[in-house]
């Protein structure tokens, strides 16, 4: 192992020097003695699976989390970063993974948000124009952010960061809202920013291919510790993967999660025995020309048609923000259709009656489980029977014994770690909350399983568990609709891939005949 500074091979003062940073939350150590050197003119990758401590480390750097121990030096001077303003003053800026933008405000107001001093609208607008011109990030400063596409919103986010002229720019998982082309462009601009202006750029990512393509140096983190500092050019994907997971990576789902799927098509897909050319498979879920509108008359879904057969996994690929969320909401009885219809097993299902979708046999693992998947203030047991409390009741009276029995069974069967059936759900970790959702939804022997971004925020082990469950469900004859912005996940799991753009399905292909160029174009809305 070589240290980062040796790797850089220069004696100049580093932009940022972290020494022995430690942060614990209760008994969990998120960052354990982390040391790191960032240099001007370089792109530095920080690689690690979810939960490896990358985010905590970055939050320390931008003042959202205070470290328990260790020191930070910026340009050779020791500093303490107690809030985001202090970070900004030191020239540290971050482009957030989950946007820090306020929909109701205009672009310029968002860009000005979080700064100090008097407000000068004209100056902010001018600066947005300058930055836009300089980096090729043109945008209308008076547009309402809520009206922008995900790609443009990220542009605003980048401008918001660059406006303060940071000498250190952190990008936190930036590609989830971008098409492959846009991602490539973004990585180009890393180079421009770095080479032309001598800034230090940090790319936080859990995707190996991104890190290989875009960085000069890599730091690998695992379980809160730095495992290795490497020069990107001198390493390879297998080494990175081994460092990140701590063992050789062979499982297919893991490889997919790490962005290591052998993308070229042709090989027979290994999902399930029935994966091949059986056109006669009966459809369990059909959406026919579905249009749905938001409360303000905006179009959420537009003339969308889709079919999922029994035992089939259909992947919905697309850039985030193109109607995936409304699609999940529609199938959760949360958004009514304004025209078109939804059929389960050929029978019409009302989209206006609460609970009709669930009653018809549509199970959902929602994109944001806190939104409609669980009730945080109720117990684990109650969350496990939430959709059909009648199952554990006689004449409308819940039997505590049966409730507890059901909970015990599911907790055991799905390996949910909790203090017991009566623990409030909010005491569980994110991964275990997700298991509660999965357990409940599968316990009702559904006809259709909608999984929206099912592995987001999970660590590698949990991802494997989740993908296994999805495959098992399909093998049991459930029609699985996988909505994901991770293309690798879709390629890995699906029998058939449909592409979503602007609220409708713009293309479809069998996994066996997948054409990546066409897929990318469709995702960008080119063929819409």
């Amino acid at each position: 192992m070589i240290t980062n500074s040796e790797a850089a091979g220069t004696m100049e003062v580093p932009a940022v020097e972290l020494r022995g940073l430690t942060k614990a939350f209760g008994r969990v150590v998120a960052c354990d003695d982390v040391s790191l050197t960032l240099r001007r003119g370089h792109v530095h990758g920080i690689l690690g699976e979810n939960g490896a401590g990358k985010s905590t480390l970055m939050k320390i750097l931008i003042g959202l989390v205070l470290p328990d121990g260790g020191s930070i030096e910026v340009d050779g001077r020791p500093v303490s970063i107690h809030d985001p303003q202090a970070a900004a003053a030191l020239g540290i800026g971050m482009v957030h993974q989950h946007f820090s933008l306020v929909d109701a405000l205009s672009v310029w107001e968002n860009v000005a948000l979080g700064e100090a001093g008097a407000l000068h609208p004209a100056a902010v607008r001018d600066r947005i124009g300058e930055i836009g011109e300089h980096y090729g990030l043109a945008i209308d400063p008076d547009a309402r952010v809520g009206d922008l596409t995900a790609g443009l919103r990220q542009r605003v986010e980048i401008i918001k960061c660059l406006r303060r002229d940071p000498s250190i720019v952190i990008f936190d998982e930036p590609t989830s809202v971008l098409t492959p082309d846009e991602s490539a462009q973004l990585f180009e601009s890393f180079r421009d920013v770095v080479a032309a202006e001598g800034r230090a750029v940090v790319l936080v990512s859990h995707k190996l291919d991104e890190v290989m393509a875009a960085t000069d140096h890599v730091t690998i983190m695992r379980q809160g510790r730095v495992v290795d500092h490497l020069i990107t050019a001198d390493t390879d994907v297998a080494t990175l993967a081994r460092g990140m997971v701590g063992r050789d990576v062979s499982l297919r789902s893991e490889r997919a999660a790490l962005g290591m799927v052998d993308v070229p098509a042709g090989e027979a897909h290994a999902t399930s025995a029935v994966a091949n050319a059986d056109v006669g498979r009966p459809p369990v879920l059909e959406l026919c020309n579905v249009t749905a509108r938001g409360p303000r008359g905006s179009t959420l879904l537009s003339d969308l048609s889709l079919r999922v057969g029994a035992g089939e996994i259909v992947g919905v690929a697309g850039v985030e923000g193109n109607g995936q969320r409304p699609l999940g909401d529609l199938l959760s009885s949360l958004v009514p259709v304004s025209s078109g219809e939804v059929l389960v097993d050929g029978d019409h299902v009302s989209s206006r009656r609460p609970g009709a979708m669930a009653a018809a046999g549509i199970a959902v693992i929602p994109e944001d489980r806190h939104d409609s998947g669980v009730v945080l203030d109720m117990t684990v047991a109650e969350n496990l029977v939430m959709v059909r409390p009648g199952d554990v009741a006689d004449r409308g009276v819940i039997s505590p014994a049966r409730l507890e029995q059901r909970a015990h069974d599911l907790i055991e069967q799905f390996g949910i770690q909790c203090a017991g059936p009566d623990a409030p759900l909010w005491t569980l970790s994110g991964g275990n909350q997700q298991r509660v959702v999965l357990a409940r939804e599968l316990s009702h022997t559904p006809r259709v399983l909608v999984a929206a971004q099912p592995t987001r925020g999970l660590d590698v082990g949990a991802i494997e568990y989740m993908t296994d469950q999805l495959r098992a469900a399909a093998e049991a004859g459930v029609g699985v609709l996988l909505i994901s912005s991770e293309l690798e996940e879709i390629l890995d799991l699906s029998d058939r891939i449909v592409v979503m753009s602007n609220g409708s399905i713009v293309g479809e292909m069998e996994r066996r005949n997948v054409d990546l160029d066409r897929l990318g174009l469709l995702m960008g809305g080119a063929a819409a």
Binding site: F25, S333, G355, A358, V375, M378, A393, V397
Partner: protein, 361 residues
Amino acid sequence: MNARHREWVALYAGSVACALLLSALLVEATGGSWRPVLDALVDGSFRGPGRWGQTLGAAAPMLLVALGTIVSARAGLVNIGQEGQLLIGVAFAVFFGFRIGGPGPVNIVVVLIAGAVGGAIWAGVAGLLRFWRGVPEVLSTLLLVTVAGQAVAFRLKHQSLLLAPEANRGNRNQVSEQLAENSRLPNLHVFGNDVPSAAFIAVGFAVVVAFAISRTVWGFRLRMLGRNPRAARRAGVSERQYGMMALIIGGAFAGLAGAVMLAGGGFQFGNFRLVPGFSASIGWTGLLVALVAREKALAAIPVAVVFGALRTGSGFVGSTGVEGRITDVIQGLLVLALLVPPALMFVRDRRRARAASAVRT
């Protein structure tokens, strides 16, 4: 867990002590002294002959109002118009109680049901506004309190509605007829106290509400709606249906409270007549009972007794030379003090939970 328990007890004791200390300071600062005030409070509420029966009589309608509030609150609705719902309930009870008639015991039932229906209708108006017109129920229920007060005052001026015929009014000009003796809720004599049967009715309902909320599918779905409306909708809970029902039940309990005040309140509340100022802020106090009981029906029982005691005690405070309104102040400070510990614990728990899950994001 034990340390946590101790922490809770200490927090509650501390904040209640603060509230009482502040009240005592206020009494002292305005030239009174706290000891006689405390003595008067205890005499008036429990120690004096026949006083704890009175206290239970005041606590009963408060408890009923609180039960209704708890049902609405569990559905995530902020119904704060109980005072108005109670008044409309009494008005209905009087109106139908004197028109339908029937033998005494039947008439008692008529009075109670009419009261509940009146309150339910008034809360239902707020429900319609909320679920069909998008008017926040916080405001509509509140504004309807004033409207209810004026509506009842108006009806008390007209003989065709509520006003008693001239011969039965005595020397007052805005009272309803007096409820016949056989149409009143009886008192039970226990240890030299007259305990209104309304107290038993209220406790019975508290048990029913507690059971319905915690053990029935209906209550389960109601709680779900209150905690996460979107998860509830996905699971088949109609916000309109359950929300309307919760508001209507809330209003019905307030109306019922009004009816038991009429039929069993005696001298404490208008002496079996509807008079101006009949509601005597029982609606507001019942609402506070529900808040302090943290939306738990059984916990509302002791809280209602404490608030009832403050009310019956306040009548005795005047004799000490300190203004009787001090009990309103004590009550308000107590409520504020009781809000502090759970809010404090909530913030701390969430902070810990966030810390524990922060590693995973």
